[in-house]
Amino acid sequence: MGEILIALGEAGRLIVGAEAALVEIVLLSLRVSLTAVLIACAFGLPLGAAIAVGRFWGRRPLIVIVNALMGLPPVVVGLFVYLMLSRAGPLGQFGILFTPAAMVIAQTILILPIVAALSRQVIEDAWQEYREQLRSLGAGAMTSALTLLWDTRFSLVTIVLAGFGRAAAEVGAVIIVGGNIDGVTRVMTTAIALETSKGDLPLALGLGIILLTLILALNAAAYWVKEGAQRRYG
């Protein structure tokens, strides 16, 4: 018990002192996961809206598949991206394995289905309410989808954050395609895994605390944004 308390104290010192090694890891984590979220949203939100509004062949199977992909195991995604990017793989020529770019790709694949599936649900619910009115005003599928994306914006914020939380918290995919190289691809989760197995508890705990605080703060912010907006805009 005493050992843990000492480690906790040491972790606090690392955080308060903004230790360079720690800051570097945190910043890389944020850069990788935020980029992944951005890309996943750029494709996932329009995809969700298209599936919600569209009437095309194979729509139902597609919904089931996208929903199922929400449960993708990170290590499997890591393995898949690893095979694609390895020297012998189809994308090996780019030489981006064990770089932050590879980690962004893996996390994007991981959270794209989350963003698409959850936004599809939210937008489809709104579509039920809006459909006749929008059609009456002469809106086509494209206009309807854009209108719904805008009108559900406060709910979509929560979804985007769910995606970010998943990306920032996963370790399986980034450790495989990133390799946990000190100063290059070491992020919070991979560092925690490594330091714990090495027995360096202070750094692991410090990073763990930062990770938790970050996720908590983001979700609190999202909650207040949504609540405030809902009160104001209905």
Binding site: E129, S136, G138, D151, R153, Y233, G234
Partner: protein
């Protein structure tokens, strides 16, 4: 674009016939009330007229000159307000009708002024009262300058005060030269707002008559029973 001619129009869902071989002509001029008990098919018939539903048999045809969706508008029982200001809701309809941004703003302000809601122009539409929302919905439809306005039980969810406001506004729109076609199951409203009655029962057009004749001397047994049921003291 009037007259609107329905020829042997039927509409069935999953083998259940909701509209059964209705033939009629809706002409310029008189305010047309589609009357009938719940489940008679009033709303379905109106959606067939407006083009939100396609008949499973028969034809719906606009026989006049200058046809097009933008020449007709519809207001629903539950107003669908977009998550933006009252003014922006009206401008949205104008945008879909292809009006330039500057004219949109001007026309939206004018119409809000005309319906007596200039003071709430900037308020988020979804937090307005039910009566205000329905008036914004009417203003949104009116701003399009429709030749025909379909109203589907526009006051069914409103209290007497708001109902009076909405009825006044309908009168205003009518005075501007727009043909009114409205469904209701409220006999008092049918009398106040109607010139001619289309009486619907179990998906069939049972009777068509001027308002006064219909209430004093209904020709069909169904209409007589309906009036007696609704006005048991007669």
């Amino acid at each position: 674009m009037l007259p609107l001619v329905l020829d042997q129009v039927s509409f069935a869902v999953n083998g259940r016939t909701l509209i059964d071989r209705v033939s009629m002509e809706i002409a310029e001029g008189p305010r047309t009330i589609i009357l009938g008990p719940n489940g008679a098919g009033k709303s379905v018939l109106m959606r067939l007229c407006h083009g939100l539903l396609m008949p499973t048999a028969g034809t719906v045809e606009w026989r006049g000159a200058r046809n097009g969706r933008e020449r007709q508008a519809m207001v629903f029982q539950r107003p669908v307000m977009l998550r933006r200001s009252a003014l922006a809701n009206i401008a949205y309809g104008l945008k879909l009708a292809g009006i330039s941004p500057r004219e949109r703003e001007m026309r939206a302000r004018d119409v809000l002024e005309a319906v007596g809601l200039a003071n709430i122009a900037g308020r988020p539409a979804r937090v307005l009262s039910g009566g205000e929302q329905q008036r914004v919905a009417l203003a949104r439809a009116w701003a399009l300058g429709p030749e025909v306005l379909f109203l589907d039980e526009p006051t069914a969810n409103l209290d007497p005060g708001a109902t009076r406001d909405v009825e006044t506004l309908i009168g205003q729109i009518r005075a501007g030269g727009t043909k009114i076609v409205m469904t209701t199951h409220n006999l008092g409203q049918a009398r106040r707002l109607g010139d001619e009655i289309l009486f619907l029962s179990q998906g069939r057009l049972v009777e068509r008559a001027p308002v006064e004749g219909f209430f004093t001397k209904p020709a069909s047994a169904e209409a007589e029973a309906f009036i007696r049921g609704e006005l048991p003291w007669k």
